[in-house]
Symmetry: C2
DNA sequence: TCTGGCACTCTAAAGAGGAGAGTGCCAATC
DNA sequence: GATTGGCACTCTCCTCTTTAGAGTGCCAGA
């Protein structure tokens, strides 16, 4: 009953009345009976009517109950699974892969897709390289165990010969190869305070770069796509609301907090409406799944849409994408 | 007269009538006189009324005339100039710099800001480096004259020793250092067809990376910010229109074409409404300025907003930002 | 326990009327 | 001849009213 109501509401976005339900739900009950049941559901707080003579609309509690207990997840159409795999199999960089993943999520579900950058547990220093560019400009390149590369231009106090630079990079590389980046950072910091080494400038840069890698690994960012899909839903069509929502997407902070919560939870996580705790997302739900490489969770992906999204359809898509993205990332390794 | 009308319309966004104009424009003329003048302007195609008894609204031609001949650009408040400089002076990567620039543009003008990535005329091969990651995975790093760094993971057919990899990178580096990247690409292509060298895999990668650098240098991308600012204008408040606009922003292609046109033009360029030739931008104007490093144009930046934006205020801001960005980028060099 | 019937309520759509803003034109004025 | 005040006219937008329709709650009967 609740299920039928929710499904109907998800499709139409309109309050649904006893009559419609009687016709659609294949339950062979008269509208009057249904009215009684609806009345009960209203007392339980699962549905509510916007005003006396409108139909009923599911509440957040209603959705929660629906999702937790009576949701029958549709198996993914076999075609779709293969399609996702195909799209994710293309031989590109990890970043492109993540972008395909969001693109797929938003494309298939017609909602907004979101993927966090994969984090690596303990990035290890691997190599640092200094290349002379011109006079006092030096290009510094830092490579970590994960094959991540950072680069930056340094201005040195005096001109350095290629030999000197080579020496510097050899020195640092020898000293730190295999050490955890966090340690490298600390050691450099200490050493710089003790002895004002001639390589200060470069060590400073190396530290900055280490910081940057570390920061990126603490899940500092996500990729999003298909935001415009959300403009299609009347319940979000209020410009003011839409603007706040998009601002939140750009701000990233709130969304990131939410996504972070999803990393810890096992498997699919669903935030319905105000459950997220962020007012801007009141009318929205978020369905997420962590993705793993080698059995270890490295990120989260999911979709954001109106509360009345078709959960039974979205969930398997998110789930499959998470698995396939994990697999694809592993191949990249 | 036209000027007064346009300025008033820019502020209020409402059709403006003879009465209002008489009061505001400090011209000391009666509404009736003004009506006569407006009638003339209408015949010239500079204004038009949405319906018989509404005020007049400037047409695209009106704006064009306004911008071309009677616009008096306000000098930038001295504070603003310094503020922009301060924001752009922060010591960060080139990419962050561009992001501050768009952020500034959109923040100050309350419109959407856009900046293309700077292109470099003839990138020159500088160095390629292959680092072993694990068994048959190799990290390839390509450095060009501009200090641009590309990296990618290669799967080799068999395990290569660090020595071998070193040799390979030395070989390629010696062969190509100082050559233009486009040439490198072609040479590699030719050589790969002639002799199926053992380093095929790596050469292929080197070529891919060269392609990527070349592509990026043909101005393939831009950064945007403040899109949500556009939601504040009633004339764009139609959801359908807004959606198309945002889709166009995400698509990037149309916007890129426009921006490309602006690189070639000297100085500030303004597209008003349909002048852009893209329907989605019909209600919008774009004000752009190329930015230069060492006297050479390397990119474009600007703002996108409704046709009724305050050109006299926006233009100096765009202009100043372009100059300051150029200067800041030069310091980076 | 389910159902049909009935009175009641509330919204959304459609129509009517009036206020207000603006126009065009004309004859009078400086 | 440029400018002005006056006046009739035409729109839109807002408000008010009315009405149709959908849905409810409740009750008596199967």
């Amino acid at each position: 009953m609740l299920k039928a109501l929710i499904e109907r509401y998800a499709r139409e976005g309109q309050p649904v009345g006893s009559r419609t339900l009687a016709r659609e739900a294949g339950l062979d009950l008269s509208p009057a009976t249904i009215r009684n049941v609806l009345s009960d559901l209203e007392e339980l707080g699962f549905v509510q009517s916007p005003h006396t003579s409108a139909g009923r609309v599911p509440t957040v509690q209603g959705y929660r109950f629906f999702v937790d207990t009576l949701l029958s997840v549709q198996p993914l159409e076999s075609g779709a699974f293969e399609e996702i795999r195909a799209q994710l199999d293309i031989d590109t960089t990890a970043k492109d892969l993540l972008e395909s993943a969001t693109g797929l999520l938003s494309g298939i579900t017609q909602l907004a897709g979101v993927v966090t950058l994969p984090k690596h547990e303990h990035p290890v220093f691997r190599r640092v390289e200094f290349l002379p560019l011109s006079e006092r400009r030096v290009l510094a390149i830092l490579v970590t165990s994960e094959g991540e590369v950072q680069n930056r231009i340094v201005h040195t106090e005096r001109e350095c010969s290629p030999g000197e630079l080579q020496q510097a990079s050899n020195y640092l590389s020898e000293l730190f190869t295999g050490k955890e980046l966090a340690d490298v950072r600390n050691t450099l910091l200490r050493e710089m305070q003790e002895a004002r080494s001639t390589m200060n400038q470069m060590m400073l840069t190396a530290m900055h770069m280490a910081d940057q890698v570390l920061e990126r690994n603490s899940n500092e960012d996500f990729i999003m796509s298909g935001q415009t899909n959300l403009m299609g839903f009347q319940e979000l069509c209020d410009i003011e609301r839409l603007r706040k929502l998009f601002d939140a997407f750009n701000q990233k902070r709130e969304i990131l907090n939410l996504l972070d919560q999803c990393v810890h939870g096992e498997g699919i996580q669903i935030f319905i409406g105000e459950e997220s705790g962020y007012q801007t997302l009141d009318e929205c739900s978020m369905v997420t799944a962590p993705y793993q490489v080698d059995g270890e969770v490295v990120g989260v992906l999911g979709v954001i849409g109106p509360t009345r999204m078709a959960y039974e359809r979205v969930i398997p898509i998110v789930d499959a994408t998470a698995r396939l993205l994990g697999a694809a990332l592993k191949q990249k390794e």
